[in-house]
């Protein structure tokens, strides 16, 4: 698919508005016309999603994010009118119990600043528009860096998935984090090209990368692993591919990325630690999450927790009550509760729970129609079936990605490694957390890009087979690269291939290991 517009007769602009648009359209190449068509289709899917869930009441944790947005808007109001901010309100609503990073709350702040009593429909429309804009920005960046094929894939997966569109009007951060991950991946592909050419990223590049990484974490703190994995990979690549002063500059740039990351994380950590009277880095929920996921739920509170509340709020109450009478922080109590509930966890029970979580992760992608009270009827039924089909195909693409080894061109190898590491890091979720039909929305954009990569690889292999020159290195592989770097680039390519093989082998090993370990639990 070429990115240059094919020659076609252009009508003379008539000066009128319509005429200009007609001329523009005529000047577009076929790929861009298809992309525009996909954008239109995305908008239609979004509108249909709004019909289903646009005015649904807040469900579960949505309330926490909305509270955070409201309290932050009050903070800005107070600062704007030079009034002392209500720190108790901020603590209670933005930090609350420290379960969630405030990314979505920050996103909602402008809405509640302008419309303090915005009803749920306006809120959903607002989030829905922002997520679409960010999807389009991501698609434009992808088109620029990876080509229209990848951009099209992104506009289809997740852009045309009805449940994704509906979920983009809800306030969990998972979906938004997935979009930011695309921006991060595109940035890393650009950086990889710089590194290949022997140039270090600028210091500004480092800062921007750090900011993008912390933005991802603000929306979904469990994406920290993805950010860390990609960060380490980039640093290693820079050290391996650069020499002399460029290498020093790359190290400085990485250091700045780290500083930018920590500088944005620090205010949150500080405020949360102060509010909860104990050290908090990102979130506080890990002990209870592990207890509920792998331990005995009926023993999380050293016995049964209070009935009449959720598996999250009851343990929280116990840890706070016990902390208050014993002089410990609630986090210290929660740690011990978790260890107690998990004291009988075995490798086998753990593996069986992970498999159960994986099942919950993939089983029911359109589940949120139920939770968001989408009215039953043909629209919901069709949306659910389309979601099921698209997401399950995407899961298959994900499996194929994990086991695909791309050998050339170099750029595709880089994309393959980045996507595989990203998907692998996102798939650690079922290894640490009760899973549900919400987490695929983070991985969906990665899966969309993976579909484009695999398609491109398929076409390349076919073309190579047809041309019968499979073994030869294409002449353009080192195009525009100084000759002294050719050897290094070859070595880099072998490393990328090797890394993909190792990742595929590790995936296979984990999969087989999980099933083998879980068998005694299933049989026993």
């Amino acid at each position: 698919m070429s990115t240059t517009a094919p020659e076609r007769p252009r009508p003379t602009p008539t000066g009128g508005g319509t005429g200009r648009w007609t001329a523009r359209w005529a000047g577009l190449g076929r790929p861009d016309r298809i992309l525009l068509g996909l954008v239109g289709a995305h908008v239609l899917v979004k509108l249909s999603a709004f019909l289903l869930v646009g005015t649904s009441p807040l469900h579960g944790d949505e309330a926490a994010y909305v509270n955070g947005g409201m309290a932050l808007s009050n903070l800005l109001r107070d600062l704007g009118s030079l009034t002392t901010p209500d720190t108790a309100e901020l603590s209670q609503n933005v930090v609350a119990s420290g379960w969630f990073m405030p990314g979505i709350s920050l996103l909602l702040t402008p809405l509640y600043l302008l419309v303090p009593d915005a009803d749920v429909g306006l809120m959903r429309a607002y989030v829905g528009v922002i997520t679409s804009v960010v999807l389009l920005v991501a698609a434009l960046r992808v088109r620029r860096v990876l080509g229209p094929g990848f951009a099209g894939a992104l506009l289809v997966m997740p852009g045309l998935v009805p449940m994704w569109a509906a979920f983009s009007m809800a306030t969990w951060g998972d979906l938004f984090a997935g979009l930011l991950i695309v921006l991060l991946l595109v940035r890393l592909v650009e950086l990889s090209r710089l590194l290949r050419a022997g140039t270090a990223p600028s210091l500004g590049d480092g800062v921007r990368l750090g900011l993008l990484c912390i933005a991802v974490v603000y929306f979904r703190s469990s994406a920290s692993l993805l950010v860390a994995g990609l960060g380490v990979l980039t640093l290693v690549a820079a050290l391996a591919l650069l020499r002399g002063r460029e290498r020093v500059r790359a190290v400085l740039s990485s250091a700045l990325a780290g500083v930018a990351f920590l500088a944005v994380l620090a205010p949150w950590s500080y405020v949360a630690s102060e509010a909860l009277d104990g050290p908090v880095l990102t979130t506080t929920s890990v002990p209870t999450v592990l207890a509920n996921t792998f331990g005995k739920r009926q023993e999380v509170c050293f016995g049964e927790c209070d009935p009449g509340s959720t598996i999250w709020f009851s343990p929280l109450r116990y840890s706070r009550e016990t902390g208050a009478v014993s002089g410990h922080t609630e986090a210290e109590v929660a740690d011990q509760m978790s260890a107690y509930a998990r004291r009988d966890v075995t490798p086998s029970s753990y593996s069986a729970d992970v498999l159960h979580n994986l099942g919950a992760y993939v089983w029911d992608p359109p589940r949120f129609y139920r939770w968001l009270d989408a009215p039953a009827g043909p629209l919901r039924a069709v949306s659910a079936v389309v979601t099921w089909t698209m997401v399950w195909v995407a899961f298959l693409v994900g499996i194929a990605l994990l086991f695909t080894v791309v050998r050339r061109p170099r750029d595709a190898q880089v994309v393959s490694v980045l996507l595989t590491v990203s998907l692998g890091a996102l798939l650690t979720q079922p290894f640490v957390h009760v899973a549900g039909p919400r987490y695929w929305t983070t991985a969906a954009p990665v899966l969309g890009l993976a579909a484009a990569l695999l398609w491109q690889e398929r076409v390349r292999r076919r073309t190579a087979a047809a041309a019968a020159v499979p073994a030869a290195v294409p002449a353009d592989e080192h195009a525009g690269m100084p000759e002294e770097r050719h050897h290094l680039d070859e070595v880099w390519g072998r490393w990328l291939t090797g890394l993909q093989v190792v990742l595929a082998a590790a995936t296979a090993l984990v999969a087989v290991g999980l099933v083998a370990l879980a068998l005694p639990t299933y049989l026993g």
Binding site: S73, L76, E190, G303, P307, R438
Partner: protein
């Protein structure tokens, strides 16, 4: 609609148009920031948002300390504890109150001593420790003979420095809700008198 664009055909991201794009991004960011500042300054004229704080509920009270359902004679316990459940059960001796506590920080012996002294203060001076871990406290409160039995069980908390250490089951005379009980006593999480039968539900994943 994946395409087959080869990477080397992908549009160039060379330095030529990047500064322009970057300037545009910077301008956009600055404009948004300015809009936010203006909106903040005007913000209070639109009214104030009203968050519910529902994800940080206020801690409620303690049924013993608050006197919702007092212990005999209004006894107060001097060791760190939390009330786990409370309610009446009908046994061989008729209806009795069954109150379960978890204690933290202190050893079992201190809890036994704490129970003895707390109940002795209100008149239950006759304490008997039996080998099976049961403690019986008897005496008279307001002229009425009262017997309290406490069964202590250690909790096998695996942490090196355990906070929560054991469980006390108190077998008490039935208590009525105090007429002057404070408002906190209206909350079932204060009284820990839960409707019988499980009504727990699992929330969605965090």
């Amino acid at each position: 609609m994946p395409g087959n664009a080869r990477a080397d055909e992908a549009p160039d991201t060379s330095a030529v148009d990047r500064p322009r794009g970057r300037r545009r991004t910077a301008l956009l960011a600055a404009a948004l920031l300015l809009a936010l500042v203006v909106a903040s300054a005007l913000g209070s004229s639109f009214g104030r948002a009203d968050p519910t704080g529902s994800y940080r509920p206020e801690l409620v009270g303690d049924t013993i300390k608050d006197g919702c359902y007092p212990l005999p004679g209004g006894a107060q316990l001097g060791f760190p504890y939390v009330v786990r459940t409370d309610g009446d059960v009908v046994g061989a001796e008729g209806p009795r109150r069954h109150l379960v506590l978890h204690w933290s920080e202190v050893d079992r012996d201190e809890v036994v001593a704490g129970l003895e002294s707390a109940f002795a203060e209100v008149g239950l001076t006759d304490a008997t420790r039996s080998d099976d871990g049961t403690l019986t406290l008897a005496g008279t409160v307001d002229g009425t003979p009262v017997e309290v039995r406490a069964t202590l069980t250690d909790i096998d908390n695996p942490s090196p420095d355990p906070i929560v250490r054991g469980r006390v089951e108190l077998d008490l005379p039935v208590a009525e809700r105090a007429p002057d009980a404070p408002a906190t006593c209206d909350d079932k999480f204060t009284t820990k008198r839960f409707p019988t039968g499980p009504e727990r539900h699992d929330g969605d994943a965090l």
